[in-house]
Symmetry: C2
Subunit: 198 residues, 2 copies
C-alpha cells in the first residue's frame, strides 16, 4: 500500500529500533496516529532530549547528562571496586542483579587495532590515570569473551599489574537454573575446567 509520505517516513524511522520490523513499525505508527498523538509528541521530545543531552560521565564514561553519572555521584557506592564493562547495557544488567555496590568503568567498545580502535579510544588512558591515583583496590573485568574482549582484558590486566591493583574476572560457567543440554559446548568446557571442590 502507498502510505502518505509522512506516514511512510515514520514507519521507516521506527525500523531503526532493535526488534522492530516493517509490520511492527506499521502497527506503532498507526496506533500513535489513531489513538495517542500526545504520546507520540512526548516520545519525539524525549528522543531529541536524550540523543542531544546524554553524554558520558567524566569518571566512568557511562551515560550521564551531568558531570557524573548517578552511580559515580552516589556517595554510598564503594570507590575501591571498579567493574570494567564494554557498554552501558552491561552496567544495567549488573545493576539489575542488585548484588554489586562498587562503581563501573565503561569502555564503550573493545580494543580492535584492525578497526583503528586503540587504548585511548576506549578510555584506557583515563582508567590508567585512575589506577595510578590510588584508591582502587580491585578491578573486576566483565568485558565479554570474544577475541576482542580477551585482548582488551589482557591489556587491562597488564595495566593494573603495573599499578599494583588486584584484577579479577567474573566467573564463567553454566547459567543458574539452566539445563545442561541447552548450554553451548564452549561454555560447558569452560565450566568443567573451572570446577571447584565442594
Amino acid at each position: 500500500m502507498k502510505h502518505s509520505p509522512l506516514v511512510q517516513s515514520l514507519i521507516e524511522a521506527f525500523t531503526c529500533l532493535p526488534g522492530v520490523g516493517q509490520r511492527s513499525a506499521q502497527r506503532m505508527t498507526y496506533a500513535l496516529l489513531e489513538r495517542n498523538r500526545e504520546g507520540g509528541l512526548y516520545l519525539a521530545e524525549s528522543l531529541r532530549g536524550a540523543m542531544e543531552g546524554v553524554r558520558q560521565c567524566r569518571r566512568c564514561r557511562n551515560f550521564a547528562e551531568n558531570e557524573l553519572c548517578p552511580v559515580c555521584a552516589d556517595p554510598r557506592r564503594d570507590d575501591g571496586e571498579v567493574c570494567v564493562v564494554s557498554s552501558p547495557s552491561d552496567v544495567l544488567a549488573i545493576e539489575q542483579s542488585g548484588e554489586y555496590r562498587g562503581r563501573y568503568f565503561v569502555l564503550m567498545g573493545h580494543l580492535s587495532p584492525i578497526d583503528g580502535i586503540g587504548p585511548s579510544a576506549i578510555g584506557l588512558d583515563l582508567l590508567e590515570e585512575q589506577l595510578r591515583e590510588g584508591g582502587i583496590r580491585e578491578l573486576i573485568l566483565a568485558v565479554g569473551t570474544t577475541v576482542e574482549g580477551e585482548a582488551t582484558a589482557h591489556y587491562i590486566c597488564e595495566m593494573a599489574e603495573e599499578s599494583g591493583v588486584r584484577v579479577s574476572r567474573i566467573a564463567q560457567g553454566v547459567p543458574m537454573g539452566g539445563e545442561l543440554e541447552f548450554v553451548d559446548g564452549a561454555t560447558l568446557a569452560h565450566a568443567l575446567k573451572g570446577r571447584r571442590s565442594v
Copy 2:
C-alpha cells in the same frame, strides 16, 4: 537502577508504543544511545512531522496530509465501490490483501450513544452526502462484529437503502488455512449458518 533523568524519560516514553514493555523500552533506549543517535534524531523528527502533519482525507476520512489520501487521489480506483471500515489499520489490512480496487470510507470509531458518539462524530453525515450525490454503486461494510459494530452497520444499511444504494457485508467464517480446532465457537456457528452449496 536509577537512570539519569533524560534516559529514564525516554524509556517511559517508549512504553507508549504497542507491544513495548519496560524491558524492550530499555533495550531501545540503550541501542539508540550507544549506536544510533542519528537514527534516534531522525525518528524524533518523523514522529513530530507525522503527529502534527497527518490529518484526515476530505473524502474518506483516512489518514492524509493533503486534501485527499493516496487512495482517493488515485484515478485508477473504482469510485463506485466504497468499503466502510472502522479505522485506518483496517484500510491497511485490506490494501495488503491486494484484492480491492474500490475506495474506502473510514469511520474512525463506531456509533456509541452511551459515550456520546453519534452519527456525525464518525462522519456518517459526510457518507450520507456522498450516497445522495450518486456515483456509488455499492457500499461494502467491513466494520467488525462487536455490538457497536453491528449497530453502526445497521444504521449505515438504513442510510444506504434511503439513497437506493446496494449494501453488502464482507463474508464471515473460518479463516483460510485455519485449523477448525482453533476457531472460536461464535465464528464456527456463523460459518455453519452461512454455508454454501458447492
